[in-house]
Symmetry: C2
């Protein structure tokens, strides 16, 4: 899924990360448009904190979305348009994928130079 191409700025701990790792099937078949739409829709959900996304030349993609709590993750998972996209992912777009829900316990970033 698309994101801003920047390291996400997330608030003070704790919060949750949903780690979505995938290998794409061949061809676009509507994937790009869906991914852009889902990224925009996720950003409108209550509890959304940010997203980071990258797909390498070898086809492996990682999208991490950050959320305030488990309830906001569950609500987004059950969003009607998101559920349609999940079915499309299982049936068409992904050869393989994994979803991991994790509680961020520590975080640190780039120190001042």
């Amino acid at each position: 899924m698309s994101a801003s191409g920047e390291v996400a700025r997330t608030p003070a701990l704790s919060y949750y990360a949903v780690i979505f790792t995938s290998c794409r099937t061949e061809g676009d078949r509507g994937y790009g448009a869906m991914a852009d739409k889902m990224a925009a829709l996720a950003a409108q959900q209550p509890g959304y904190l940010g997203m980071e996304s990258a797909r390498g030349a070898d086809g492996l993609g990682i999208t991490i979305s950050y959320w305030r709590d488990e309830a906001s993750i569950a609500a987004w998972k059950h969003d009607t348009e998101h559920q349609q996209a999940q079915r499309g992912g299982q049936q068409t777009w992904y050869a393989d994928y994994s979803v991991r829900v994790a509680k961020v316990e520590r975080a640190y970033g780039q120190p001042a130079k």
Copy 2:
């Protein structure tokens, strides 16, 4: 950092994820060789469970390493060669980065088709 280009197979819960997100500076300047070396070295550490890595065309990279427990994460963080690489990252290779340590609480993957 390089990885196998596959979704990592991780064991039954719980375990930890170290989410490393970065924006690269211009030019290689030894980055590729260091990244390959660190991926190989990490895989030899006690408690290492797997790694997923992707860098998109916009320059944002995400590397997630999975670990059995906090102790194995701490030991890898303080490995001498890894510490040299961390200094190189701060001084040379990364324009921005973030490290998040998270406990994986739930996981699910591709259902049978």
